[in-house]
């Protein structure tokens, strides 16, 4: 739904890493936008650049190794004039005001992203004091409120406990409480349920859907789990080797996938009640260090690859409004139409 007003617009983002073996194009010309109040699903396998994209938006990249080389990350916030995050100093005050306050992040591993030597309460209070300018007492009250809101029993006691005293699901709830504590407009959830069991995953996903209804924030949901995407997302961006290969509404992506990679992904997941042999994508996820320079990055694994796929990278063509595919067969189709 590109017609609704965006909260974040990423245009031609390139984030490169300087490594000993040369430049690694972790994110290479990625564009997408997230509408107000919508959930954008970002799907891809390890090394496709989905987490680096998220970290670029929050300017949390490891420096000086990684750098946003070009592109714009426009954040619309509450005002009309967007802020280009890509141009902000990662350590500056402007960026600090955005992080946590406007845009916040839920990380994959709640055990490694919470500080083990501070209580859960301390960690929430810290950001509330910093961003909302509350005093300690009010912030503590806010922390207890948020813990209660995400369904943690006995929040007044649990607020003084350490992360190791929480179970995996509870830790992830605490992470969500922390991310929401400053009323952000935009939340990036990077594999929020990957480390969790199905039943807990369902709890967390229901919780996020409820909170989104209540607070109206936008969510960028990064995951490799197509089930979670089908369940939560309004629109989907499929990434492969640092590029966007397909975008569309969730229905379009699941019911009418156009890129061979998306088709392959959908065919390769086992579905309950269907007994036929899985259709696996041959080969392995490519190493970003040695991508074929001018090829379509998926060509080595594509069963439908033609000569042209090894000659030039396909452009990202728009089939209809908001529906984009990076594949030569679609590009030809659009050209001949």
């Amino acid at each position: 739904m590109p017609n609704i007003s965006p909260v974040l617009e990423v245009k031609g983002l390139k984030t490169y890493f300087q490594t000993e073996d040369g430049v690694l194009r972790a994110v290479d010309d990625v564009s997408f936008c997230v509408g107000r109040g919508e959930t954008l699903g970002v799907v891809g396998e390890s090394g496709c650049g989905k987490s680096v994209t998220a970290k670029s938006i929050l300017q949390l990249l490891p420096r000086p190794k990684a750098k946003i080389v070009s592109g714009e990350i426009l954040y619309y916030g509450s005002g009309d004039t967007p802020i280009d995050i890509a141009k902000l100093d990662p350590h500056g005050n402007d960026m600090r005001n955005l992080r946590g306050n406007e845009i916040s992040m839920i990380f994959q591993e709640p055990m490694t992203s919470l500080n083990p030597v501070y209580t859960i309460g301390d960690q929430i209070i810290e950001s509330v004091c910093l961003h909302l300018g509350m005093n300690k007492k009010a912030a503590r009250q806010r922390a207890i409120e948020m813990l209660e809101r995400v369904g943690i029993p006995d929040p007044a006691q649990r607020v003084d406990q350490y992360p190791h005293e929480f179970s995996g699901g509870m830790r992830q709830r605490a992470m969500i409480a922390m991310a929401l504590s400053c009323n952000p407009q935009f939340i990036i959830a990077d594999e929020p349920t990957t480390a969790l069991d199905v039943t807990v995953e369902a709890q967390i996903m229901n919780l996020m859907a409820d909170l989104q209804q209540e607070f109206g924030m936008s969510i960028m949901l990064i995951t490799h789990d197509l089930g979670v995407i089908a369940d939560m997302a309004d629109r989907v961006v499929v990434m492969y080797s640092g590029t966007v290969v397909e975008t569309g509404t969730t229905e379009e992506i699941f019911h009418n996938p156009r890129h061979p990679y998306t088709q392959g992904l959908l065919a390769s997941i086992p579905k309950v009640g269907e007994d036929q042999r899985l259709v696996a994508i041959p080969g392995t996820v490519p190493n970003l260090k040695n991508l074929p320079p001018n090829w379509c990055y998926f060509a080595p694994r594509c069963t439908n690859a033609k000569d042209r796929c090894a000659a030039r990278q396909p452009p990202l063509v728009e089939l209809s409004s908001g529906r984009m595919v990076r594949c030569w067969s679609c590009a030809m189709e659009v050209e001949s139409a």
């Binding site: 199905v198 039943t199 709890q203 089908a230 369940d231 392959g264 992904l265 997941i269 009640g273 696996a280």
Partner: protein, 342 residues
């Protein structure tokens, strides 16, 4: 159809880990990781095992492979026409059985020794068992690598040179080296990328078709287990709560926990989208399990009797081969997976 013979029979298996505290490390309690599990595996079948983390599936598998010694219970493994109890055997006595039971581990990054070449990794079981000559080891390694879809020219390489999916193939090749009769797969695909996961699942299916392996397949991903298994065991807090043929477990579960698990599956189809019915609360601590039925703290149908008496795992009336441990399995109308897709 003639019923295939039982290859493994586990009876009342228990594994308790002591909790030690204080300067003198005195035992202050027991974690009942596996608490009275009985099941059997038939020749040539794939028995799937599911449950949330901490429910004891991996501990059960480790006991069966005798990587750890069980606290009590028996693990009978078929040798010829008789069943041999592995539970009390010493390391030395177990050695010949290592040929018959092999394991594929979850994490292909930590289960291969980084300092060994692929040749050493895959042929090590032969070396330990003192079988064959060096030349035969190489032939066997090359043959196995071919079977799992890797080139035999990789023999002199080290694990770090391979991707996750390739490493898992090496792990499978190693497990096959001795031609085991029972292959225990402990979360063999959960560390792999989605597109590679299907390759490994297909490989396991092909190997089963070719060699008639028997699998004990553990995974937390229910749709993966559904795809590979013929029968499924559902565990909760160290106990089996339900055991039945695959279709029955998904479509007509007889235990509320199984039904809740199925209702929580995320279906990769937006047209069936509806709110997932999430099970409330979290798994109680296995160091201090609830009285009676261990699921009663989270069960929507719990009655007085569930708090007091522990239900036995027994065959449900009129359903052959379908076992459930619930006082009310006859009365409850559970929907399970149908709830997700209807």
């Amino acid at each position: 159809m003639k019923k295939a013979e039982t290859i493994l029979e586990v009876h009342d298996l228990k594994k308790h880990f002591p909790i030690r505290k204080g300067v003198f490390k005195s035992i202050v309690g027991q974690v009942r990781a596996v608490d009275g599990v009985s099941f059997s595996v038939r020749q040539g079948e794939c028995l799937g095992m599911v449950g949330e983390s901490g429910c004891g599936k991996t501990t059960t598998a480790r006991c069966v492979a005798r990587l750890i010694a069980p606290t009590s219970g028996s693990i009978k493994f078929r040798v010829g026409n008789s069943m041999v109890d592995l539970s009390g055997l010493s390391r030395r006595e177990l050695k010949p059985f290592r040929r018959d039971i092999q394991t594929v581990f979850q994490d292909p990054y930590s289960s291969l020794d980084p300092r060994m070449t692929i040749r050493d990794i895959v042929s090590e079981p032969l070396k330990i068992q003192g079988m064959g000559s060096r030349k035969e080891w190489d032939e066997r390694t090359a043959e196995l690598l071919g079977k799992v879809g890797l080139s035999s020219s990789y023999m002199n390489r080290y694990p770090h040179e391979f991707s996750g999916g390739q490493r898992q193939r090496i792990g499978i090749a190693r497990a096959l080296t001795l031609n085991p009769r029972l292959l225990i797969c402990d979360e063999p695909v959960s560390a792999l990328d989605v597109s590679v996961q299907a390759q490994v699942i297909n490989l396991l299916a092909d190997l089963q078709a070719e060699f008639g392996f028997t699998y004990l397949f553990i995974a937390h991903d229910l749709s993966v287990v559904e795809h590979v298994s013929s029968r499924i065991v559902v565990m909760y807090l160290g106990k089996i709560v339900e055991m039945a043929p695959r279709k029955a477990i998904f479509e007509e579960p007889q235990h509320p926990y199984t039904s809740a698990l199925m209702a929580a599956i995320a279906v990769a189809d937006p047209s069936t989208r509806k709110r997932r019915r999430a099970l409330e609360g979290s798994v109680p601590s296995p160091a201090n399990p609830p009285s009676g039925c261990s699921f009663h703290t989270r069960c929507a149908y719990a009655q007085e009797i569930c708090r007091e008496r522990e239900p036995k795992l027994s065959e449900v009336d009129g359903r052959e081969g379908h076992f459930a441990a619930c006082h009310f399995s006859q009365e409850l109308q559970l929907t399970g997976y149908k709830e997700r897709i209807s």
